[in-house]
Amino acid sequence: MADFEVPVLGDDPICPVPTLKPDAMKGIKPFIVNNPMHNTDLGFPGSLVENWQEVAIAKMGDLLKKYRSLQVFLDSCVKCGSCTDKCHYLIGTGDPRNMPVARQDLLRQIYRRYFTFAGKYFPGLVGAKDLTREVLDEWYSYYHQCSQCRRCSVYCPYGIDTAEISMAAREIMDSIGLGQKYTNEILGKNIKIGNNLGLNPKAIRNTLEGLEDDVEDATGVRVQYPLDEKGAEVLMVTPSADFFAEPHIDGLVGYGKVFHQAGISWTLSSKASEAANFAMFIGSYANKKRAAMRIREAALELGVKRIIVGECGHAWRVAYSFWNTLIGPFDFLDPRYPVPQHICEFTYDLLKRGALNLDKSANDHRVVTFHDSCNVSRASRMGNFPGGQYHIPRELIKASCNHFVDMANETIHEQTYCCGGGGGLLTDDLMEVRVKGAYPRMQALRHVQKKHGVNYLASICAICKSQFSKVLPYYNFDREMVVGVHQLISAAIQLGTKE
């Protein structure tokens, strides 16, 4: 099935720390932008500029003045080794460059050489290096073997977050015209058309009408999936994968049923038909703002009172942590609700108020475990207390299923392992990285499968869902075992009993 070695799952829920295999993943890299437009749409040079070294150093200097994180993180590392066994790509590949600190050092060695006294005058002593083509190639390869999941930052005594470093590295590479095809092409579509897939309003409307028919066939109740409906109470912004991909679309069905039973009017927007914001993956503040601004504009045009975000990990990070700063203030919305709200927060509130009627036995064929998505777990929150992002989705699952089991403690909550496909890596040209990166999660899953008979893996992230659908078979799991949390609610909700 694969032209590379797939890790073999053991009985322990935790993967062993691998012995190092230097250069095991050297040269593994995603496609580079070949259509210059995919760069220029985002304000980057179409292809590698001639004086790229000069431009890259200047860009690094610029970023050092703009981001305290970058400046402090590049200075503060003491090479204690705390992070070295924490990255799922290190665990899956054994390539020492996939140790977070070694990944950071690819940038740090250049920072030292050009921006510090020690690196300028004693490069050998502090491991400083000139920016050569070889270094640039290593950057492109290894900064695209980081899913920016922030697991390393949990364990760093100085809070150094490799995601910040890899975002800066990618921003530098974009600034010299060395863009990654997958991320930049998709981001361009999002900014120009309104969603990652380039779906036009008509295609979205067709899909939604089809959904209304399907739900009516299955339940006998006509649930609305409105698009561009002015005056609706809620603008629902969801990853565009929810419009067509499996199992994502079943989650969208679930959102609609929840709104229906709660009797709250809502609408999707063709202009803001994407919650994802791939600009985060490349660190670009301007593009992050551009992509997010469509959502503010849509909310104003539609005259909604609330904005709710669908099941998508990095989108929730951008929405929760960045929106208010990027595209706020949201003083035109109803101040009684947080802006934005996660669909899980919304459903959880309804549940606590007794506004939903769920029949758990509808999911009795399922023994479910929950995969905490990295961006939800370590870069955002739900509810009004720290850790609500772990509590709320689990409560929703338990309210709709009789059988729920958690995976090992070392692999959930803030210690959760990335699915292996986040951060702009969800592309077929990185299949080896994705499969090997999924290893720790697959190992923990195998453990609960054997011990508790778990047969469903619930997630609240479009990337996780797509990634798992693809990599589960490599580890001899059923690809259809991945489900959305609102898919479980969708199955359990008793339409026609409350509304």
Binding site: L20, K79, S321, F322, S380
Partner: protein
Amino acid sequence: MTVTMLYAVLFYAAVAILIIGLLRRIVIYTRVPAPLRIATMPAPLNLGGVVLRMAREVFFFESLFKSTKWTWLFGFIFHISMAVVLLRHSRYFVEPLCSGIEFIQFFGKYAAFGMVAGLGGLLVRRLLVDRVNYISAPSDYFMLGLLLAIGLSGLGMTFLVHTDIVALKAFFLGLIYFDWQPLPVDPLLLIHLTLVATLMIVFPFSKLLHVPGVFFSPTRNQIDDAREKRHVAGWAKETAV
């Protein structure tokens, strides 16, 4: 007298470089904005919570403890011992002594063993654990060696070859009050002082910047309040859409 002159100049220079170098870094860290909320979650919801989180990080190395118990143990022993040793050393710069400094003298003498033991553990780990070995640059060994040599030369003076500690104190008080007094010319003392001055001088140019750095780390010092408050940095205001 030449030796006294030499070390007087060395210590004035070392103190100046340490203070100016650190202040310069701190000014840079303060001026560079943090344009987005990036706290590692779950994060505190208010300032009091952040102060507690930072205190746990600075005094107990909380994150390191979550990660690897051996490194935590060696690192913690080293740092806490060094803190006690430094406090003990304040007796050479202060007259008259306060009771706290007198109280700590006994512990300070033996804390030096903890310092050396902790450093030794860190060094062994750096040499033997393949992952840590891979990420080590010469400067990482240099720093451990420097601190070890400082600890060992200090221990040597405490337990083996005593120096004229009264004269030494007079020398340092003389430096402080610009009333220079002769420095005892003992090899072990001169080695110890040279190493300490070296440490002070390299401090602001090395990974020892983790000392101010930890306080400025956005993933640790930010409040989880992004939905309630906007955090627009100066440069970000002009970002066109």
